[in-house]
């Protein structure tokens, strides 16, 4: 049985209450919208790129505790990293929340982001955790259109 305390760890609840880098980034040279139609989570990600490096990053938006905490932790993790490093983390994070990468036994670059691995036991919440990462990925790729987790709503 999935463990609630694994999902809602203190660190995650703390990031939800006091999200880091939660602001408009005036110096941003890239801006990307992300949207999860299932629960209406919406996020705007701001990147200040200096060549291949993420000089600064911030976000704004509304969402559940998981999506907010994940976005907050992501901004803290990728600030100062290169585009290639951030893409590696995106790929590893994605595999972790889908249960395809065990951060305890396999080599990875996730660091503190490991704390979100509990999401893999809650399939309905994987998209919440990965929304900010998909948005970052699109921003790094320089895509223009907004990102959706593409989860169709299921009616009434």
């Amino acid at each position: 049985m999935a463990d609630l305390s694994e999902l809602y760890q203190q660190v995650i609840l703390d990031h939800n209450k006091k999200p880091r880098n939660f602001r408009v980034l005036e110096t941003a040279n890239r801006r990307q919208e992300g949207y999860n139609p299932l629960c209406g989570d919406q996020l705007t990600l701001y990147l200040e790129m200096e060549g291949e490096a993420i000089k600064d990053v911030a976000f704004q938006g509304q969402g559940c505790a998981i999506s907010k905490a994940s976005a907050s932790m992501m901004t803290a993790a990728v600030k100062g990293k290169s585009k290639a490093e951030a893409e590696t983390m995106f790929e590893e994070f994605h595999r972790m929340v889908k249960g395809e990468l065990d951060p305890e036994s396999e080599e990875n670059h996730l660091g503190r982001l490991k704390i979100l691995s509990g999401v893999r036991e809650f399939p309905a919440r994987v998209k919440c955790a990965s929304l900010s990462w998909h948005t970052l990925h699109a921003a790094l790729e320089g895509k223009d259109e907004s990102v959706s987790t593409e989860q169709p709503d299921d009616g009434t």
């Binding site: 629960c39 505790a65 998981i66 309905a124 009616g155 009434t156």
Partner: protein, 419 residues
């Protein structure tokens, strides 16, 4: 109907045997995450009684055949069962004729059918269609699409802070430009029971036809389309203890006669040649192709089941549940109820301070409690209340006060997790 006879005299609370009713629903014995299922997502879909499940199995095991085609025994049997279901639906909503009952895949399909058929014929550039702030997306988007195609304008009836339609404002919107009014009988997101009879009267005084989205109403109160005098009434089988993929569009004969078919194919024609095709009569003109036969039969059985309990008794019992839930859940500090209309059906939409509904949904799920978290396919009404989403508990006649207590405990636990 016969099962209800003989219990009529006793007061409602004495003869509504919810424990006996629960035995009819096998899924209510399921354990979710090791706990008994508390199913409070009935506005999304209802659970199915054993007799409906059995009817589907029996159809495929003993009766399966295509309808309206064969001279052989099974085809005649399947045709009879399917057409009997149409008559049951006719009586269920008190339609004047069974040919006014068009089988669809559900409420969404019924509304789209009217938009595509009535809309294309009768709605033109400069015309107006009126809907309300509290509509489900399926009673918004088809009209937006029609407006885009025709150059008509969509107008929206506003609501007050309780989630009630502002009828005076609606009355002021009526004019000869308005070609259709389309409103929900009961709001899926708020539970508001709209004064549809009054709305229909007002619209008819300007000769404007009215479509009622009955998806939430048909399972919870006695619908009488002739008393309402609505021109169209759409509802779904799956919210009514029936199977998914089947529903009904009721339309007054003269409107259905005037409407061109949307889909062409088998069953909807009288004769076909390459020079000219003659359409079939109602209801078949609007039902092209092999239909959802087992769905129609299953819906007929679901209606038999609901009739055996009685819609009036169901409505009264659900009102008790709603009153109890409103009191119990509404009293929890930090909980805000969204939708507090005076006339409400058994829907309780709520938010908790500082906790996103999706997190509420996950924590309640771990307790075995199924609620809906999200915008309920009604984003405009969420916006009206200034929330991105709500958690929604929706009750059916097989729910109990003990289950509402379990919901209250689950909400307390959610608040503790986030404290």
């Amino acid at each position: 109907m016969s099962a209800a006879v003989g219990r009529e005299a006793a007061p409602i609370e004495n003869n509504f045997d919810v424990e006996r009713i629960r035995k009819d629903f096998p899924i209510l014995n399921e354990k979710i995450h090791g706990r008994p299922l508390v199913y409070l997502d009935n506005a999304a879909t209802s659970q199915k009684p054993q007799m409906v499940i059995d009817a589907l199995t029996r159809y495929y095991a003993e009766q399966n055949s295509n309808i309206h085609r064969g001279v052989h025994y099974l085809s005649q049997l399947a045709t009879r069962e399917y057409e009997d279901a149409r008559v049951k639906i006719q009586h269920f909503i008190n339609a004047a004729d069974s040919h006014e009952i068009i089988f669809t895949s559900g409420t969404t399909a019924g509304i789209n059918l009217v938009a595509l058929s009535y809309g294309r014929k009768f709605v033109h550039a400069g015309d107006e269609i009126i809907i309300s702030t509290m509509e489900h997306h399926s009673n918004i988007v088809p009209w937006q699409m029609l407006c885009e195609q025709t150059g008509a304008t969509l107008r929206i009836i506003p609501i007050n802070d309780a989630g009630e339609l502002l009828i005076d404002e609606f009355a002021a919107m009526l004019s000869s430009k308005v070609k259709l009014v389309a409103v929900a009988h009961i709001s899926n997101a708020l539970g508001t029971i709209n004064p549809v009879k009054r709305i229909i009267e007002l619209a008819h005084s300007h000769d404007i036809p009215v479509l009622i989205d009955g998806a939430q109403a048909a399972p919870h109160l006695k619908v009488d389309v002739r008393d309402l005098d609505c021109d169209f009434y759409a509802f779904s089988g799956h919210k009514l203890c029936g199977p998914t993929g089947i529903g009904t569009l009721y339309g007054k004969s003269h409107w259905l006669e005037a409407m061109p078919p949307v889909f062409g194919g088998g069953d909807m024609i009288a004769s076909v040649s390459f020079e000219k095709t003659t359409y079939n009569s109602l209801p078949y003109k609007l039902e092209a192709g092999t239909p959802n036969i087992e769905g129609g039969i299953g819906l007929g059985v679901a209606i038999d089941y609901l009739n055996s309990i009685g819609l009036d008794k169901i409505a009264a019992y659900e009102q008790e549940l709603l009153d109890y839930a409103t009191e119990t859940i509404g009293a929890i500090p930090g909980v805000t109820l969204i939708g507090t209309a005076r006339e409400k059906a058994s829907v309780l939409s709520f938010t908790i301070d500082g906790i996103h509904p999706h997190d509420i949904g996950t924590i309640l799920d771990q307790e075995g409690i199924a609620v809906r978290a999200g915008h309920h396919c009604a984003q405009p009404v969420m916006k009206r209340f200034g929330v991105p989403a709500t958690a929604r508990a929706s009750f059916a006649f097989y729910n109990t006060k003990e289950e509402i207590d379990a919901l209250a405990e689950g909400i307390q636990k959610t608040i503790e997790v986030f404290s």
